[in-house]
Symmetry: C2
Subunit: 429 residues, 2 copies
C-alpha cells in the first residue's frame, strides 16, 4: 500500500523553493532550540521549522495515541521508542495539516505564530541521545581501495569481507551536529622509516562520506533480528562525516581497530529522514557473490538511490565539489547490517546509530575520502581557488549533501557542514 504522505502531487501551503530538500513529501524529524530558548522536537517544510511540541499541545495530534510530553523533549529517543506505526501516523498527520487543501492551521494566524519558525530563528541540536554507535565498512569499492593502498593490491579484500558486513564500535560522545566546529587532533604517529613514535598534531585529517541510520528498540539481550524484519526497527537516516586522522590510524589500528583516529569527532546532519520518506527510492543493491549465509539473505529491494556529494570550502574561498557518490553502491544493506549486528543477541536500543562506512563509488571521482581521492596524497586535488589539498587543512569546511530524486519529487537530507579548527588550546593546567 503506498504511503499517502508520499503522494508526488501533494503541495503544502508553506512555501517550498524549487529543488528544496524539504518538500511536504519529506517531513523529517529533528530537535531544535527555538527563538524562546526552548528545546522542542520538530519537523521542516521548505525553509520553515515546525514546533511539534506546540502543535501537540494545541491538540493537532489528538487522534494519535501519544503521551502529552512526547515532543517536549530534548531528544527523539522516546518518540522513536513508540515504534513504526506511531511514526507513520504522526508523519501522515503532519502531511495532512500542511497540505495546501487543509485550512485548519493555514488559516489560524495565532497558532501559526506559535508553531512556525524560519530556519535562522532556530538552532538545530543532536536529534537523538546516541546510546551506542557502530560503524560498518560496507562499500566494496572503499574496502578494495584501502586494501590496495595498505595491504596487497592483488588481494585487496580480506577473506572475511564478502561474508561479513564488517563493523566495529565507535564513540557516541564525540558525535556532533552539523555546524559544530571540530579540532585537529593530537596523537601518536610513527614517522616513515622510524620505529619510535612521535607526539603531535595529526597531519592527515580526512573526511569520510557516510550515511547513518537510527534504530528503535529492536530486541532483548540474546535475541536476533531477522534480516527481512530489520527495516521495521530503522527510524530513518542522516548524513554522516566520520572524521579520520589517517596517520594516527595507521600506527594504532593493529590489532584492535581504529580508536583515537576516529573518536575525536563525527558530524551528522540534524534532520532524520524517515524510511517512509525514502520508500519511493528503493533500488536493488549490488549482486552478492558468493551468496551470503542464510541469516543475511534478504528478499526485495533493500538499497536506496541517494545522491551524495562533498564540498571543501577554504576559509576564504568558494566551495569545490570533490566527489559525487551514491548510497546505492553499498554492497551490504542496512537490513544485513542490523541482522548481522544482532545475530549474537547484541541489544539494540532506541537512538542507536549505525554508520555505513565510507561510501565510495566505482570511479575515481566518486571516492568517499581524501585518502582515496588523492590516493594517499599522491595525487592532490585542485580547489577552485587554485590551492591544492592532499588532506583537510585547518579552517577548511567540509560539507556533505544528499538527496533522492524521482518523478519530480526531491527528498533531501540538507547538509552536514563542519569546519576543521587548529589544535585545541587547553585551559586545563
Amino acid at each position: 500500500m503506498p504511503i499517502k504522505s508520499n503522494d508526488p502531487a501533494k503541495k503544502s501551503w508553506l512555501p517550498v523553493r524549487d529543488n528544496s530538500d524539504f518538500p511536504i513529501q519529506n517531513i523529517p524529524f529533528g530537535v531544535f532550540l527555538t527563538r524562546d530558548d526552548i528545546i522542542t522536537i520538530g519537523t521542516r517544510i521548505g525553509d520553515h521549522a515546525i514546533d511539534l511540541g506546540a502543535l501537540h499541545q494545541m491538540g493537532y495530534f489528538k487522534d494519535i495515541p501519544l503521551t502529552d510530553d512526547i515532543f517536549l523533549q530534548d531528544t527523539l529517543n522516546d518518540f522513536i521508542s513508540d515504534g513504526k506505526k506511531t511514526w507513520r501516523l504522526v508523519r501522515n498527520r503532519i502531511s495532512e495539516i500542511f497540505d495546501a487543501n487543509n485550512s485548519e492551521l493555514k488559516n489560524n494566524e495565532e497558532h501559526k505564530k506559535i508553531v512556525l519558525f524560519t530556519m535562522d530563528e532556530i538552532e538545530m541540536q543532536l536529534p537523538v541521545q546516541i546510546g551506542d554507535y557502530t560503524d560498518f565498512y560496507s562499500s566494496k569499492e572503499h574496502a578494495t581501495n584501502v586494501g590496495k593502498m595498505f595491504r596487497d593490491p592483488e588481494n585487496a579484500l580480506l577473506p572475511n569481507w564478502l561474508h561479513i558486513p564488517v563493523g566495529y564500535h565507535g564513540r557516541s560522545s564525540s558525535i556532533v551536529p552539523s555546524g559544530t566546529p571540530i579540532h585537529r587532533p593530537m596523537g601518536q604517529t610513527l614517522p616513515a622509516g622510524s620505529d619510535e613514535p612521535i607526539y603531535g598534531p595529526s597531519k592527515l585529517v580526512d573526511f569520510e562520506l557516510e550515511m547513518a541510520f537510527i534504530t528503535t528498540d529492536a530486541n532483548i539481550l540474546g535475541e536476533t533480528i531477522p534480516v527481512n524484519e530489520a527495516e521495521n526497527y530503522i527510524f530513518g537516516m542522516v548524513l554522516f562525516n566520520d572524521w579520520s586522522a589517517r596517520d594516527i590510524q595507521k600506527w594504532e589500528y593493529v590489532p584492535l581497530g581504529p580508536f583515537l583516529a576516529k573518536n575525536f569527532a563525527s558530524s551528522i546532519s540534524p534532520w532524520i529522514v524517515t524510511m517512509d520518506a525514502l520508500e519511493p527510492f528503493r533500488v536493488e543493491s549490488p549482486k552478492q557473490e558468493p551468496q551470503p549465509l542464510p541469516y543475511l539473505q534478504q528478499v526485495g529491494k533493500k538499497g536506496f538511490d541517494i545522491n551524495l556529494e562533498v564540498d571543501i570550502t577554504p576559509e576564504k574561498g568558494e566551495p569545490t565539489t570533490v566527489t559525487k557518490s551514491n548510497f546505492k553502491y553499498m554492497y551490504w544493506t542496512m537490513s544485513q547490517q542490523l541482522a548481522h549486528h544482532t545475530v549474537n543477541g547484541c541489544k539494540v536500543n532506541s537512538g542507536d546509530m549505525m554508520g555505513s562506512g565510507t561510501i565510495s563509488g566505482p570511479t575515481q571521482d566518486s571516492y568517499g575520502s581524501m585518502l582515496e581521492l588523492t590516493w594517499r596524497g599522491e595525487k592532490p586535488l585542485k580547489l577552485k581557488d587554485g590551492t591544492e589539498r592532499k588532506f583537510i587543512q585547518d579552517l577548511d569546511t567540509v560539507t556533505i549533501r544528499g538527496f533522492c530524486e524521482k518523478s519530480g519529487v526531491r527528498i533531501g537530507f540538507g547538509e552536514v557542514a563542519s569546519k576543521l579548527l587548529p589544535v585545541f588550546q587547553s585551559k586545563k593546567k
Copy 2:
C-alpha cells in the same frame, strides 16, 4: 592528608562479618530495587544495603550541597557528575553516620526500618547508564600470550604495544549486572582448513577477567586530560567479565577489531568501589621500558594491589577456582588510559566505563582467560567434579571476586557471577 573514612580502627554499629568485602572503610555506591519496588541509590556495610535516597530525605546529608533528588534516581550518573569533592563529602558523612560511636541513626529505630535492607530484600541494578564503554588491552602478559598463540612467538607484542595503551570501543547496551544470565551467541566462524564460513553457536565461549573504572564528566570536545590529573575524573571501579567468543573473534577481527565476539554480553559487579576507598592500596605499577611519550609519563604510585580470582561452577557441582591474578600487574595504568583516550580531544562523560583488558599475571595459574589457561584448549583444566573444561560450557557459572587487604582492613568488590545459558530461543518469527 589521609582520608578519615579510611581509618583502619573505625568500626560500624552495623554487623560486619570477618573477611567481609564491605566494612565501614569501603562504602561503595550502587543502585537497587527495594522491597517496596522503589529504585534508589545506596551503599552497603556488611550485609546491609542502605537507602541513601531515604537518608537524604530525612535530612542526614543536610550540610552537603546536594539536589533533593540526587539519590532518588535509577542511575548514579548525576551524583557522579557532582564531582570528586561531593563524592568525598558524602562518603565521609556515611562513614560518620554508621560509626559505632555515633548514635544519631543507630538509636532511631523508625529511621533504621526505613533505610536498612538485608541483601536478600533488594535487587541490584546496573549502577550507571553507561554512555560509552571502552576496553583497553593493558596487561603485558595477556597481550604476550595472545601474540604467542595467534601471531609470532618470537615477536609476540605488536610494535605499538609498548608505546600506546591500546584500546577499542565496546558496546554499552550489552553490559549487565552480576546475576543476569547470558546466552551462548550464534555467529559466523571459519572451520579449520576451510575457506567457507559456517553459521552456528560459538563453540569457544570464554570469560575475560577484567576490572573497569567509571568516569565523571572530564572535558569538553577537543580537550585533553593530563595524565597526572586523570584520577580526579575517576569515580571508582568494578569487576568486569568481558565474555568472549573466540571462534567468532578469530574470523571477524581483522582489520577493524573484535565486534560480535564481544558485544553479546559483558557482566559487572554492581557496587562501585570509590578511588578514595582504594587509596590505601596504591602500589608502583610495572616499570615501563621504553619510557612512554611525555603525555603518558605519570608521577607517583598509580597501580593498585587488588587480588582477583575466578571460579567456574558447573550446574550441579561446587566452584573450582581456576585462576588468581592481581590488578597490580597492569602495565598501563588507569591514569595513562584516560590521558591517552583524551589526547585527541575525545569527550568523556559521567558514567562512561573503561575496561582494563584481560588481567593476566606472570604465571600460568594467574592467566585471565580460558584461552590462556588452557592454551587454546590444548591443556584442559580439571574441575573439582572431575569434568574438564577447555572453554565455558552451557549452565556453567563464572564468578569473579576481587579484594584488597592491608593493615587488617579488607576492601572488596563482592563478585560478578553470571551463568552461561544455551543459545537463545527467539520468539520473533
